[in-house]
């Protein structure tokens, strides 16, 4: 896995020192050790936290990785990913309520619906780049929000979908503790899928498009089609998260489609580290845990804190946690070998 990706700092690029490269250069045993630690933490998590919070962390981890696939590895900031997360939540909820299927099938249906929704949105959005892409995706997500709000006969409007069942071949999953372990394999599959995309030839082309779209085009890559494809894949992964979120809460409200949800997904990625994939998982854990703690302690202005995190991270900590940590670790590694 040798990498020749050019990492020279270009001040105008959103993507910070690509984690792709740092991971590739870290010695193999460190990567396996980190993976083992991460798996152990994932297995232990609901014993150390409220299981409901642990479930939310898993869902948001998928959401963040989906956003990072675009932001970190394709250089596209989607500010409308709530459309995919939320659409899948609604479809999952509806399928689970009306068809009585086991919840993984309902979640799969939701994620597929999100991927289908990503086709028209993506087709239009990839016509613009940079800040315009963010505005266009934000606007289309708002459109989906209004549709869900108006289509009361299906979505129940502001009341939300109540009573989404957690059906799995008659198993009793009403306890969040057991539900966590039921969804963990699905989440790990989703994360592994994202890893596979990034480390495939397809993913290499995406990074090429991110770093130099004109050159990618000159080399004969259909840039728009690559962007659309990754948007659909990202929509699917975000949809997996959204569907599990719906089953986890047994309830779907309009909030899943709101623009604040899209914004929160982006800040989770920036906090964890753009272009690091696993940074998003870390960011999700921190933000979900923090918000739970704030609402538990009766603090009403959560936006004050999330907004504050936004401002501080963007001003002072643009590499994010994973980006900063891996840069430090690599420097230490390099100095030791000299």
């Amino acid at each position: 896995m040798t990498s020749t990706v050019d990492t020279k700092a270009d001040a105008s690029r959103p993507a910070v020192p690509s984690g792709l490269v740092t991971v590739a250069r870290a010695p193999g045993w460190i990567r396996y050790a980190l993976l083992a630690v991460a798996l152990l933490v994932a297995l232990w998590l609901p014993n150390g936290l409220y299981p409901a919070v642990a479930v939310d962390i898993l869902c948001w981890a998928l959401f963040a990785v989906a956003v990072d696939l675009l932001l970190g590895f394709t250089g596209l900031m989607s500010f409308g990913h709530a459309a995919f997360w939320g659409a899948s939540a609604y479809v999952t909820g509806l399928v689970a309520i009306h068809a009585g299927l086991p919840f993984p099938a309902a979640v799969l249906a939701g994620a597929l619906a999100a991927a289908v929704l990503a086709v028209p949105i993506g087709y239009l959005a990839v016509k613009r780049t940079g800040i315009y892409f963010a505005m266009v995706t934000l606007a289309f997500a708002q459109m989906v929000y209004y549709v869900a709000n108006e289509w009361r006969s299906v979505t129940q409007g502001e009341n939300g979908l109540q009573g989404v069942p957690r059906e799995l071949f008659g198993l009793d999953l009403s306890d969040d503790y057991y539900f966590y372990y039921a969804i963990l394999p699905i989440v790990l599959l989703g994360l592994a899928g994202a890893w596979r995309i990034v480390h495939s030839p397809f993913g290499r082309v995406l990074v090429g498009i991110r770093d130099n779209p004109a050159r990618a085009r000159a080399l004969g890559y259909p840039v728009h089609r690559y962007k659309l494809t990754v948007l659909v894949l990202s929509g699917f992964i975000a949809g997996l998260g959204g569907g599990l979120f719906a089953v986890g809460h047994r309830f779907v409200s309009l909030e899943v489609l709101h623009w604040t949800t899209s914004g929160k997904a982006v800040i989770v990625v920036v906090l964890g580290g753009i272009g690091t994939l696993w940074g998003g998982v870390l960011g999700a854990a921190i933000v979900v845990r923090l918000e739970d703690w704030l609402s538990f302690s009766g603090f009403e202005a959560i936006g004050l804190v999330t907004g504050g995190i936004f401002v501080l991270v963007v001003l002072l900590f643009r590499r994010g946690i994973w980006g900063t940590a891996s840069a430090l670790a690599l420097r230490w590694w390099a100095s030791r070998r000299r």
Partner: protein
């Protein structure tokens, strides 16, 4: 016919708000390459400021119409100096995120102090009542808003085309590198222009106070529609943003009047128009083509 004229007039009035907000966004974007997410929050602060001035200090509408835009312009300039200017050399996405964070903070500060309920703001007595247009009556206040907004847009147009400052702003909007190459100090105008754009948002907010419910979230959903407006008009074009603002106001009003049987369509018509424009002219109706990417 009367109904159509009335809908058209209403459309132009709501278009006036879009136009004022889009104008501020376009001027700021032109000068700083910053898409200001907090624009809606400043609109809300304008309306809320007018409300607080009236109820807690007895300051009348006309005074608020001067005080709030100026005060918010100063606040905007302070924020530009403190935060935004540190990020202008990076990708514009960072300032988009920063101003998103500022939006959440400003909204929650107001929510914390005044709650989320809507507060009524009385129309100033000189503008209550209605104007008779022969075929139909129209509330005086709405006529005033439309006239005032058009006057402001024309005034800004005049300033941009006829004054030296305006020419510098236009030049650095259209060709920033070239303007610098002519030895013009572009940086000097950045902070005042940002303040000016924020002032316009505040002005729109004060104008909205007697007409729309004043609450902490009033700017949040509006700003996303304004983003669609500037995508339609082409953010690089100041004229295009204003024209798209009025145009979208019209389309929305007609949609609500004649497509009321299809609430899903009439509620999302702005975004449908945006989708069509992206298909037909991706750079916006009045925008220039970006470098292909």
């Amino acid at each position: 016919m009367t109904g159509f004229l009335q809908n058209t007039f209403n459309g132009l009035v709501s278009g006036a708000f879009y136009a004022l907000l889009a104008l501020g966004l376009a001027v700021i974007f032109g000068m700083l390459r910053v898409v200001n997410f907090a624009h809606g929050a400043f609109y809300m602060l304008g309306a809320f400021g007018a409300y607080v001035l009236l109820t807690e200090a007895g300051v009348p509408f006309w005074a608020a119409l001067v005080i709030m835009p100026l005060g918010l312009a100063l606040l905007g300039m302070a924020l530009e100096r403190a935060f935004i200017h540190r990020l202008t050399r990076l990708d514009p996405l960072y300032n988009f995120l920063l101003t998103f964070g500022l939006t959440l903070i400003l909204q929650d500060l107001v929510k914390l102090r005044y709650g989320v309920q809507s507060s009524p703001y009385e129309t100033p007595s000189a503008l209550s009542g209605s104007v008779d247009f022969g075929l139909f009556d129209f509330p005086t206040y709405r006529v005033f808003i439309l006239g005032f907004a058009v006057a402001v847009c024309v005034g800004v147009w005049w300033a941009l085309t006829r004054t030296r400052v305006g020419m510098v702003v236009r030049a650095s909007t259209e060709r920033p590198e070239l303007t610098r190459a002519f030895g013009i100090n572009v940086g000097r105008w950045v902070t005042p222009v940002f303040g000016f754009g924020i002032g316009l948002a505040g002005l729109a907010g004060v104008l909205a106070a007697p007409m729309r419910a004043v609450n902490p979230l009033m700017g949040a959903d509006l700003i996303i529609v304004v983003f669609a407006v500037v995508v339609i008009g082409g953010l690089g074009s100041i004229f295009g943003s204003v024209a798209a603002g009025f145009g979208i106001g019209l389309v929305q009003a007609w949609g609500e009047a004649y497509l009321s049987a299809f609430p899903i369509v009439s509620q999302t018509i702005v975004f449908i128009v945006m989708a069509v424009v992206l298909l037909w002219r991706p750079a916006g109706l009045f925008g220039r083509e970006e470098a292909p990417a």
